[in-house]
């Protein structure tokens, strides 16, 4: 018993079948209530609501159809990474350098921060990379070298030109606050393959959180159990460790006593699903206390691995810390954590200082941010591939929107541009060295195969074996979806 201080109850008292039959008032209640009341939508394909066992909310659940990807690694670059300086090669932009961007109506071009100056060629040279000869810039050479693995969407568009709403949209599908993040939807739908870690982990950048903070990994109106749990290689899960003031013996004694109280209560109230769920939650918490520090402990990684990520780069401590987050991401994927969201860049330090928001002095800012991102993320991608994890993991590289091909009037940086930007995917289920869609000759507006964020979300869900139109949760009068009423799977990019 001593080894399982919290395991006394659930196992011998709770019969799963009986429990499901008895329902419950919490999660089970939500799921069951949803089954009963609201199936009167006149659609051909009715919603598929996952049936969630409150005592095991993270248990793996079947997809709607066979999945191509088992896990998702979502990499988010905070501040809006310039596509014209990285992955969207525009020869015409070089040729027309320092001339005005032609505007159809001859009007003045006013974007987020105001008036625009002339077109400005990429601040880093583009070169062909890989066997495919994909053109990417010298800002991110290590990632460029992996271009053959990548499946680019050059025609992505966002609905907002403001960081907060645009971050919201990339994370939740909605520009407004208060909607569940993609990771929460996926955990709700599929649970996890890992029994001692949460299904959804967010890894904040060593410099701090993204602009909208925890809204990036919130569960909103989905049950809180599906929210992302935030920790990184520097900062463990909040309240994970045993408090300093309580000895291991005392802690164990206290937990045994709690388990005993809960056991007794379950005996008095047999079949109480919420209580069983609570007992299970305390058990998972105990397992997390063991598993999470083990996962975050990189001391078992070989020097070769550490170096391939740049995790020992003493000259660039920020890069080394981001590299450690990248290694943590791999370790979580390895453990079967369903959805890992890795952040690069933070807002806490202000515009462009700790993130990709290069309004005023883009060259100077990106020269700092490029090396922090490049080798560590390339190391992660290579490592996933080498370990065979890329075959079942979908990597998605996104940012909130693109940047203008022009400089802002009177500045040496680029303003926000939601009309066209590049995201890329790699790994399970997507084509390699593939380019989908395009912006115009300057990289200003998406013009070919225009894609939207709901399209991207629909595609991610599709690769996980989920029909995005049928994964729903009833909230406040509406069957909510990650993709709202939008979204089409971007079929051409599927392998």
């Amino acid at each position: 018993m001593r080894h399982h201080p919290l395991s006394a109850a659930g196992r011998h008292l709770l019969d799963r079948r009986e429990f499901l039959q008895w329902g419950g008032t919490g999660l089970g209640g939500v799921a069951l209530a949803a089954l009963l009341g609201h199936d009167r939508l006149l659609t051909a394909a009715p919603p598929i609501r996952p049936v969630i066992d409150p005592a095991a909310p993270f248990a793996a659940r079947p997809p709607h159809f066979p999945a191509k990807a088992r896990n998702v690694l979502l990499v988010f670059c905070s501040g809006a990474l310039s596509h014209v300086d990285t992955f969207d090669h525009k020869p015409e932009l070089v040729r027309r350098h320092d001339t005005p961007l032609p505007i159809p109506d001859g009007g003045k071009l006013v974007t987020f921060q105001g008036e625009q100056g002339n077109l400005v060629k990429p601040l880093w040279e583009f070169r062909p990379r890989g066997e495919s000869g994909t053109m990417t810039s010298d800002l991110l050479p290590c990632l460029g070298a992996l271009a053959d693995e990548m499946c680019f969407i050059h025609s992505m568009t966002a609905r907002s030109n403001t960081h907060g709403p645009a971050e919201n949209q990339m994370a939740t599908g909605f520009t407004l606050d208060g909607f569940p993040s993609a990771g929460a939807w996926v955990s709700y739908a599929l649970g996890s393959e890992c029994s001692d870690l949460p299904a959804f982990v967010a890894i904040p950048d060593p410099r701090g959180g993204p602009q909208v903070g925890p809204r990036q990994w919130q569960s909103a109106f989905l049950p809180a159990v599906f929210q992302g749990t935030a920790f990184n290689a520097d900062r463990p899960i909040a309240n994970l460790a045993r408090p300093a003031g309580i000895s291991p013996t005392a802690d164990r004694a206290s937990r045994e006593f709690i388990a005993r109280l809960n056991d007794d209560e379950l005996r008095r109230h047999p079949g109480d699903g919420d209580l069983a769920a609570r007992i299970a939650a305390y058990e998972l918490a105990a397992r997390m206390q063991l598993a999470a520090p083990r996962i975050a402990d990189l001391s078992g990684e070989t020097v070769a691995t550490l170096d391939s990520y740049g995790a020992r780069d003493a000259a660039n401590p920020l890069k080394a810390r981001f590299a450690r987050n990248c290694i943590l991401a791999r370790r979580l994927i390895e453990q079967g954590v369903r959805f890992v969201q890795l952040f690069n860049g933070a807002y806490a330090m202000g515009e462009g200082v700790g993130n990709w928001d290069g309004h005023k002095t883009l060259a100077k800012q990106y020269a700092v941010h490029g090396p922090i991102l490049d080798q560590p993320l390339a190391g992660l991608l290579s490592d996933l591939k080498q370990r065979g994890l890329l075959a079942e993991t979908l990597v998605v590289f996104v940012t909130e929107f693109g940047r203008m091909p022009t400089f802002q009037k009177g500045a040496s940086g680029r303003d926000h541009n939601p009309a066209g930007f590049t995201v890329w995917l790699a790994g399970a289920g997507v084509r390699r060295a593939f380019h989908h869609g395009a912006t115009d000759e300057f990289g200003y507006k998406a013009v070919t195969d225009v894609a939207t964020i709901p399209d991207l979300h629909a595609t991610i869900l599709h690769l996980l074996g989920i029909d995005h139109t049928r994964l729903t949760f009833y909230h406040n009068g509406i069957e909510r979806r990650l993709t709202d009423v939008h979204g089409h799977v971007i079929a051409p990019i599927l392998a």
Binding site: L27, N161, L176, V212, P223, N239, A250, S254, N476
Partner: protein, 940 residues
């Protein structure tokens, strides 16, 4: 006309090709209904989007504003109509709303056009019945018959097995009997008092309250009268309003920060929260409660309109016109949507872009409501309150008297000080608000003021330099100023300000030399002068005392070349704090300085009081016209829409397009709060039921529309609604009815027979057990540890570390003091940010309305409750309290701790285990464990 028709008819007949030539049946039966229903909504008589009409043959053929032909008979590929229903460009694909046409439907249109697009004359204008005219959507026609939109008619109470006097039980018993179920027996007194206390006031009952209730039940041989007294006590408690205000604040997405990117705090949003608490405590009639929140400025309840602007507001503005229009549209959308969902239980927000898919709310109706709110702006407004204002006026009058008396007495001290100075051959120290230098009369053309030293060695600032001739004229005004230097780059600090006759920092001169510089005036003509007056900030409400010249010389000249000093700082008392009274005797000086401090404090208080209280309750401006927005796109305005109600739901009233702002909201408020509005009363009684039983009679409390839940007890809902209205809209009356019902008082134990029939307990064969909400958990932790601070109202406490970043960074506090031990409803609640501890308990973040919370169970909850600093600190306080109350004997400590936390004594086994724990590890560890027991956060 006649001829044109004939030609057209001929053309159509001639072109009619094979397949369709056999008759116009296919068009009549299939093509026309298809085009009318799928295209007619936007391309009909009401709204000819893009200038295109599908319902008039000639217009359909001619096409819309693009100029391209709509239909080219015989050539589908040249017909815009066909191109737009088949294009791969999703932005251009029609229909703009709803699913694309099916392959069969496309083929039908293609074949029809290919066959020459035969369109018979008698259908030249498609019959309106075919068209889904706005507001007459066939779905809407059906939906108008929906139960919730019918008038409330008080149903007869079912005969039979009701407990006397409470019709609720008759309704519940009737449904149970129909399902072959029996209700459960009454819960035991301990369970009952814990349940109803948490339910009505959100706190655990104290051991003493439990004991008193138990013994009253024993004495009475039953719980009836003791329970009635208990309910009365709880409903009268000020804690009741705090508890139920939290429920309401969820429904109206109230928070005290802006949300969006910056999420800055709204330090004056709390008056609305206090207003809600007071209204519920006072049992304000619900119709008044509703009216005040929409138009409280009409009825003297300013704080109530905090409802309107309780939602998010994007303060990041941009020159981009699209963003600006979108932001405004989103603000109004929030107000429209929240109003409809909170009071009417309708999801009107769906009609922003298109007619509601389920409920009879057209897109025009949405914009009618939007026009009602078109003048509402986010921001603060003075809070007028007749009673408080009168009190405030009195207080102001009293303070004014006080300030005047203080000033008079200070003047006496000043005079005495000045006298003492003169006697000692000294002058007052320099001050920012004006300094006088007098000298024997001298004829001069130039006067120069040279600074030798300043406070903080800053560049000196003079707002005015006056030179008085012997006849008392300020001759500097007509003179010409020059200076050694002027601080560059500030419009408010210019040389010309130094003799412009205007005082204050905004009209001042600053030299560019730290601690030095000079300014001089060339007078219009040489005159005899005898006095110079100069100052730093002589405005009526001076704010600046920096940049003060403390050493200076004043010199005169006839020729601008040779100078003669006439005055300086020599003989002044040294500049320093409270130097005003330095020349007085020590005792007098102390008295004068204390008086000066009181005077300053009283003046500040007076100023604040005179400015009046303000709240983040919105401001109102007269709005311009409101337009329907095509597909909700703020850049696609269509016809003007006047303010009005939901026309298909009894709100066909309409005001003029230029109706005064306030009148719009007043009209809407009166319509919603009218006793014959079928939704308002049903929605609120259902909300009360929802919180008492965990599930409403309709399980979708903010959606009683067609897509909402099916009522479990429709007649009961109507009976409660009728009862509410006839009681004068008293919520406490309904609370009392519900919690004294047998349905509410029954035990919560599960019964296999009943579970088999009604697993979700919708028929209420038992009282459903529930987990406490985040706020109640925190409040209960504090109450049990004896730390709860029951101070009501005012600015909230913060669970996050202070932080003044442009984009506020929310870092959960780890250490708490007494300030944070008030009830959680008084937390200054940021939007979209949950503190790390209680956020894990499904606390809504007020980004969206939250009429119904989830209650999930997560490992993070366990970690927080086991290891969180707040919990551990509270466990220590809990232990200290127990020790204070019962001393050091472990048996008594354990017994007391169980009673406090769980409302019951420990079983012998529990007592044995717990006392052993106390002996080995201390009482606080047992307290930590009790807080973590499932029983602590569960109400049965």
């Amino acid at each position: 006309m006649r001829r044109a028709t004939a030609v057209a008819a001929m053309t159509w007949a001639a072109l009619a090709g094979p397949g369709f030539a056999a008759g116009d049946g296919p068009f009549r039966d299939r093509v026309a209904p298809l085009l009318a229903t799928r295209c007619g909504g936007c391309h009909g008589p009401a709204t000819a989007e893009g200038g295109f009409r599908i319902d008039i043959r000639e217009r359909a053929v001619a096409g819309g504003d693009s100029g391209a032909a709509g239909i080219v008979p015989g050539q589908p590929s040249a017909s815009t109509l066909f191109a737009r229903i088949t294009t791969a460009d999703r932005e251009a694909l029609m229909p703009a709303e709803g699913e694309p046409l099916s392959a069969e439907e496309r083929t039908l249109v293609e074949d029809w056009i290919a066959a020459g697009a035969p369109w018979p004359d008698d259908l030249r204008t498609l019959p309106p019945a075919l068209l889904p005219a706005s507001g007459d959507d066939p779905r809407h026609k059906r939906a108008r018959g929906h139960w919730a939109f019918q008038p409330v008619v008080r149903p007869a109470v079912p005969a039979g097995d009701g407990s006397p006097g409470n019709p609720i039980d008759s309704f519940v018993a009737a449904r149970l009997a129909a399902a072959g179920l029996q209700p459960s027996p009454e819960a035991d007194p301990r369970t009952l008092i814990r349940r109803v206390t948490f339910d009505l006031v959100g706190l655990p009952p104290s051991p003493e309250e439990i004991e008193a209730f138990e013994s009253a039940c024993r004495r009475d041989g039953g719980s009836a009268s003791a329970y009635r007294a208990l309910v009365d006590r709880l409903l009268a408690s000020p804690r009741h309003g705090e508890r139920w205000a939290r429920h309401w604040l969820d429904v109206v997405r109230f928070a005290e920060s802006n949300g969006f990117e910056t999420n800055s705090a709204r330090p004056n949003a709390w008056p609305y929260r206090d207003w809600v608490i007071a209204a519920l405590n006072d049992d304000m009639p619900y119709d008044r409660f509703v009216r005040a929140q929409i138009a409280g400025d009409v009825w003297g309840a300013d704080a109530a309109t905090g409802f309107l602007v309780g939602g998010p507001w994007d303060q990041v503005k941009s020159p981009d016109p699209v963003l600006t229009a979108t932001q405004r549209a989103d603000e109004l959308h929030d107000i429209v949507g929240t109003t409809a969902s909170a009071f009417l239980g309708l999801t009107v927000g769906c009609a922003r872009c298109h007619d509601h898919k389920f409920d009879p709310v057209s897109q025009v109706d949405y914009h009618r409501i939007k026009a009602v709110f078109a003048g509402v702006q986010h921001g603060e407004r003075p809070l007028r309150d007749a009673a408080a204002d009168a009190e405030r006026e009195q207080r102001i009058a009293a303070l004014e008297l006080q300030v005047a008396a203080q000033a008079a007495r200070l003047a006496e001290f000043r005079a005495a000080a000045a006298g003492a100075l003169t006697a000692a051959g000294l002058r007052l120290p320099v001050g920012p608000q004006g300094n006088v230098d007098t000298f024997p009369a001298v004829v001069a053309r130039w006067v120069r003021f040279t600074v030798r030293a300043t406070t903080g060695n800053s560049e000196p600032c003079l707002d005015e330099l006056e030179v008085f001739a012997t006849d008392g004229t300020n001759v500097a005004r007509a003179g010409r100023p020059t200076a050694s230097s002027t601080l560059a780059g500030y419009d408010i600090h210019k040389l010309v300000h130094v003799n412009d006759g205007r005082y204050g920092n905004e009209r001042s001169w600053i030299s560019a030399e730290p601690g030095g510089g000079w300014v001089q005036i060339e007078l219009a003509a040489p005159v005899p002068i005898e006095r110079v007056v100069w100052s730093r900030d002589r405005s009526p409400q001076p704010r600046f005392s920096d940049r003060l010249a403390i050493r200076y010389e004043i010199a005169v000249s006839d020729d601008g070349a040779t100078w003669r000093m006439v005055a300086s700082d020599a003989g002044r008392m040294p500049h320093g704090p409270a130097a005003d009274f330095a020349a007085l005797a020590p005792e007098q000086r102390a008295e004068a300085e204390a008086l000066a401090a009181r005077h300053a404090a009283t003046s500040t208080e007076l100023e604040k009081l005179a400015a009046g209280p303000r709240g983040y309750v919105g401001t109102f401006v007269e709005p311009g016209p409101t337009h329907r927005l095509f597909r909700g796109d703020p850049m696609a305005p269509r016809e003007e829409v006047p303010p009005g109600g939901l026309s298909q739901l009894g709100g066909s009233w309409e005001l003029a397009g230029d109706a005064p702002e306030q009148a719009r909201r007043q009209r809407l408020a009166e319509w919603i709060a009218a006793s014959d509005n079928p939704l308002t009363a049903r929605v609120i009684v259902n909300r009360l039921w929802h919180h008492h039983f965990g599930t409403g009679i309709v399980d979708t409390p903010s959606d009683l529309g067609v897509n909402g839940g099916v009522p479990s007890h429709p007649e009961l809902l109507d009976w409660l609604a009728a009862e509410l209205v006839s009681s004068g809209w008293r919520l406490k009356h309904v609370h009392r009815l519900i919690v004294t019902s047998r349905a509410y008082r029954q035990a919560s134990d599960p019964r296999p027979d009943a579970l088999a029939v009604d697993a979700l307990d919708r028929l209420l064969w038992r009282h459903p057990p529930r987990r406490l909400e985040a706020e109640a958990i925190r409040d209960a932790i504090l109450a049990v540890s004896g730390s709860l601070d029951t101070r009501m109202g005012g600015p909230g406490f913060d669970l996050f570390e202070p932080n003044g970043n442009y984009v506020k960074v929310y870092v959960t506090k780890e250490a708490f003091g007494a300030d944070e031990f008030r009830r959680m409803v008084y937390q200054s609640k940021p939007r979209a940010e949950l503190d790390a501890f209680f956020g894990a308990f499904d606390c809504p973040d007020a980004s969206q309305v939250q009429p119904r919370r989830t209650a999930s169970t997560t490992p993070l909850q366990a970690l927080n409750m086991l290891n969180g600093a707040f919990l551990l600190d509270q466990a220590e306080r809990f232990a200290s309290r127990v020790e204070r109350e019962v001393g050091v004997d472990p048996d008594r400590q354990v017994a007391r701790a169980f009673l406090l936390a769980l409302g019951r004594p420990p079983t012998p086994t529990e007592a044995g285990l717990a006392t052993a724990l106390v002996r080995e590890h201390g009482l606080a560890l047992v307290c930590r464990s009790l807080y973590n027991a499932n029983e602590f956060i569960t109400v049965r």
